[in-house]
Amino acid sequence: MLKNIKVLRTESKLFRLFENLLALALALLVWQLAALKINEPIILPTPLRVIERFLQLFSEGGLPERILFSLTRIAQGFFGGLCVGLLLAVLSSASHTVEVLLRPYLFTIKSIPVASFVVLALFWFTAGPIARVISFLMVLPIVYTNVLEGIKAADPAMLEMAEVYRMNFRRRLVYLYVPTVKTPLLSACRIALGLAWKAGIAAEIIGIPDGSLGERLYLSKIWVETDTLLAYTLVIIAVSLLFEKLVLLFMRLLFRLWEKL
């Protein structure tokens, strides 16, 4: 019975993969036909041309440096936002006053458009750390809100049990709150990772720090290189997806180790 279920699951996974690949192939075909119809590579290059350009990027030199430049800054912003968001959520859960006092700051961060923040950040800092600052600001409220809601959703029955057995804050944190926030934290990270990349690269396009991926996208616009723009977009998608998968895998491993405490 179990074996049958496993086989069915594997089959359904394979089927889903097949479905997705088919949909992708059709989308590429539509793109190819549209590009051929328009016949204007500056407006819309063919997917084959973009892939060709994408492969050329690797032999041109400078690509790994650009990836490293943007990746390190966005990663620093992400992990900074994650740590500060976690810390503030824990403090807010422990003190209603802290939660109330933090509300205006978080409301401001959530409400102000990214572009305004980028310009402000350019006034306050140099262009170099712009992606770091913007990624941090994108990640912080998402992590804070999800984790705080997760802590507040802790099972009251389990909290009573912890009270009766006189468990101190450390034990409550380890055994009760961390498992409770696991799911909201992972989903917050999934959303925040995507946003950190999108906002981080957008900030680089506005701030144009030397040697960044955003700068290269900006140059593509100036030089009207649509194929290069799309090839670099492919690079960004690949790097951000890989980064997202690695971070989530690392976090799941951490939670698994935590449960073995």
Partner: protein, 195 residues
């Protein structure tokens, strides 16, 4: 007041319109096992919650109850993602793994020490929750349906285990089953049926 008794006098508790306990008075012996019986809705669990300090009574007095008080709740309330050992040590940090293993072995859970609780059966979880309550430092032990979900043979083993490890503590056990009181040789107290 009698020195060796825990005395509940004129205790009342209502939740909104619903009167759960009405002028309840009863007493039970310190250092002994007593069973509290009553129909569903008679306020057994509410009384335990008042004794634990988790609910406040609307009126009446409690005298002679010794702290710390530990409770085996009607639900197991275990940390599902963590091992049996971790669950017990979270409540009794001073208990050594060897001591915990001995207790687990007494209730046929010796093999489950490092197993995550979520992988245990309902009866196994109940036994883990019972061991956690027994091992936790306390002067008073409140047990709400401790043998729920255990088969006849295991319920008897759990009762014997409880008797072996009572260690002079006051135990108040809430149950629907008269035979639970008989197994433990405990005095039975009855709560009046709800109006």
């Amino acid at each position: 007041m009698e020195e060796n008794k825990i005395k509940i006098t004129d205790l009342s508790k209502a939740f909104g319109e619903k009167q759960v306990l009405s002028h309840l008075s009863l007493s039970f012996e310190k250092g002994k096992i007593s069973c509290l019986m009553g129909a569903s809705g008679s306020g057994k669990t509410t009384l335990l919650r008042i004794l634990l300090g988790l609910e406040e009574a609307d009126g009446g007095t409690l005298e002679g109850i010794e702290k710390p008080i530990v409770c085996l709740f009607q639900e197991d309330r275990l940390f599902e993602d963590f091992s049996v050992l971790t669950n017990i040590r979270a409540a009794s940090p001073k208990a050594s793994p060897q001591e915990i293993l001995l207790h687990l072995t007494e209730l046929e859970l010796g093999e489950e020490l490092k197993r995550p609780v979520r992988k245990l059966s309902g009866g196994m979880k109940r036994r883990v929750a019972l061991i956690r309550a027994v091992l936790a430092p306390s002067e008073t032990l409140l047990l709400d349906e401790p043998f729920k979900g255990l088969d006849e043979e295991m319920a008897k083993k759990a009762a014997d285990y409880l008797l072996r490890h009572q260690n002079g503590r006051t135990v108040l056990l809430v149950t629907h089953e008269k035979k639970d009181a008989e197994r433990l040789g405990a005095k039975t107290l009855y709560l009046p049926s709800p109006a």
